[in-house]
């Protein structure tokens, strides 16, 4: 058991650090949840990609460096330590790309991945519907067979990044529900352009008013067969199969929280009131939590590297980081005192608003706790 990096890993770390030192913008980019900020973040993706830093873990043929998960974690540590901008491409990179690697065709990978890596095409997810949130399998947006493809109709919502993104991916019902106990059958995983005929995008202002997500109204939108991932009707299995493995590790990298906890600690040392032991304990908890998440991830990465699979443990991950993220930002805002109220007062305010969504998206924490209880503790399935 060790926490040591190989010479190759250290060399990779130095290379990443040097590149980031020369490229990370000196001033923070405008919020990526605005039109102007979205464009600036897209351009940053292109800058990363030009030197193969946007998707380091992907094979070289798609624009990556083909590195393993340990080096990916090293890159992420360096990225956030250097103050790198938020990743506007993360929906595509974290959610769609792993699915394409596992279930896509070579043609799809060659066509979809390089422009995703460069930021040329930014992806939004289209899972939830007005009546299908945690109970996603009850979704009703339909895909109807037509010559050479499918016509999709219905309404998707809470579609992150869709206000400014180029394309979207999601599940559509291609066969009617036959057995009401098995609504997961007959769903198809599709990709479609957001500027196609029949698509209406209505941005939704999140808590701070920024259009971080959108509603999608779909009216007989044509999707060619080449944009179906895997077999029609098998979409549920395809969408869920990548929720458990390494994606559980890569949705939120520990580097992000380690860097944030270090920043918070520095602010505590310069601005904190040493007599305020209650706040001091919360700052310490932020440090402890970041370290715990980092080490938990290293342990899972080690298991992964040893050929083990990571299953329902990724639900532990999700509950932990999403609640940690809120506590971290609450602590930072409390440390700022009255200035913590300022919406444009600095790095913590927008992060706080973003953190509040964490326990809701990517499977609510209630669903994650059900998974933990049933699959890790073996408790009986019950009513939700």
């Amino acid at each position: 058991m060790d926490l040591d990096f190989t010479a190759g890993e250290e060399e990779f770390r130095r290379r990443a650090r040097d590149w980031l030192a020369g490229h990370v913008p000196a001033r923070p980019l405008p919020s990526l949840e605005t039109r102007q900020g979205f464009a600036a973040h897209r351009a940053w993706e292109g800058e990363l990609a030009a030197d193969r830093w946007s998707v380091v873990s992907w094979p070289e043929e798609y624009g990556g460096q083909g590195v393993d998960i340990v080096k990916w974690l090293v890159f992420e540590e360096e990225y956030f330590a250097a103050g790198g901008p938020g990743r506007v491409s993360q929906n595509g990179i974290n959610l769609l790309a792993p699915t394409l690697f596992d279930f896509g065709t070579a043609e799809q990978r060659a066509r979809v991945l390089p422009p995703m890596a460069s930021g040329e095409v930014i992806w939004a997810q289209a899972w939830s519907e007005p009546d299908s949130g945690s109970d996603l399998a009850s979704l009703r947006s339909a895909a109807r067979r037509t010559e050479g493809g499918w016509l999709i109709s219905g309404q998707k919502t809470w579609s992150s990044r869709a206000a400014f993104a180029d394309r979207a991916f999601g599940l559509f019902r291609s066969e009617p529900v036959v057995d009401s106990a098995k609504p997961h059958r007959g769903l198809t995983y599709l990709m479609f352009p957001l500027d196609a005929d029949g698509v209406t995008v209505r941005p939704i202002g999140r808590l701070d008013g920024k259009p971080a997500f959108a509603e999608l109204f779909l009216d007989d939108v044509f999707v060619p067969d080449e944009d179906v991932i895997g077999e029609p009707g098998q979409g549920w299995r395809i969408a869920m199969s990548t929720t458990g493995d390494e994606r559980g590790l890569t949705l939120r990298s520990p580097g992000r929280f380690v860097a944030a906890a270090e920043r918070l600690t520095r602010q505590w040392r310069t601005h904190g009131d040493p007599a305020d032991t209650a706040l001091r304990d919360r700052v310490a908890d932020a440090v402890i939590g970041a370290r715990a998440y980092q080490l938990f991830t290293w342990a899972n990465a080690s298991r992964f590297a040893a050929g083990e699979t990571i299953g329902a443990e990724s639900s532990l991950n999700k509950v932990f980081w999403s609640e940690y993220d809120i506590a971290l930002h609450e602590t930072a805002l409390d440390l700022l005192g009255a200035e913590g109220e300022l919406a444009d007062g600095g790095e913590w305010a927008e992060g706080y608003v973003f953190s509040l969504a964490g326990p809701i998206y990517a499977g609510t924490n209630e669903i994650q706790r059900d998974i933990i209880a049933e699959r890790l503790l073996g408790l009986p399935k019950g009513r939700r």
Partner: protein, 330 residues
Amino acid sequence: MRFLLDVEQREFARSLDAMLSAADTPAVARAWAAGDHAPGRAVWGRLADAGVFALAVPEEYEGAGLLPVEVAVAFVELGRHAVPGPVVETVAAGALLARLAELGEAAPAKRLLAPLATGETLATLALPEGGPFALDADVATVRLTATDGELRLAAGHARVERSLDPVRRLARLGPGELLASGPSVAGASRCAADWAALATAAQALGAGLALLDRTVAYVKQRTQFGTPIGGFQAVKHRLADVLTGLEFARPLLYGAALTLRTADIAAAKAAAGEAAYAAARAALQLHGAIGYTAENDLSLWLTKARALRTAWGSPAECRRLVLAGGFGGD
């Protein structure tokens, strides 16, 4: 980077688990609480045979060398099985004597250390870092105190006081023979406190895991409203949170064992202490009234989880050390 227990370490845990399961440790702990130490001494001998007390002792004193990861592995099992006695203190006393020898004061180690490693002698100690009480001072024959730069071998102890954990018996140590003095005593004391905190964190994690296991088993078989209560979401979510707390304390424990930095050990101690205590609260609530009885063995872990929260580093002291040490490597 291979942050996983290796095959030998996992086998070590399994063999201790098997041995302690067969030893009926709840009965041993109850006997210890009642003042009958014979069954506890028998378990002590078996732990010594398994090498547990040699894990923080250099080879020249009949130890196995300094093996903090193995200490963590072993103490998770000791906590899981509610093993009574000054187990943490004996390991920490060994670390203190070894460190003192390293700092140039070898005489106390030469005189006292080998019998600790082999399990012949039980030790206890009271250090400035750990508070005024020594555990099981009436059973331990090596009783160390380190205050004001002086290491002493206490001749006796004050009245034994009851702990909230009936298995733990606390006493202040009396005066005694001067073993060493000077700055090396403070250094050795800090080192011993770190090892004690590490072992206590591991013990707390093990206690938390035992509480969770027993509670999961209980809610699967306890039926109300015609169905096992473990199917209710309020129950499931509470236990999911307990598991989350324990599973994120675990890597802090092993990470601290690898670095042996005071701040990392304090982080592990704070997290394991909180996670075990949360496990105890959930275990009591979900067992209901039966869990509130002394008769039910659950009480052994419920009370221990409370005691271990403040033993060898209170939550506030641990957090102070975390911020004093900061992040990452030295």
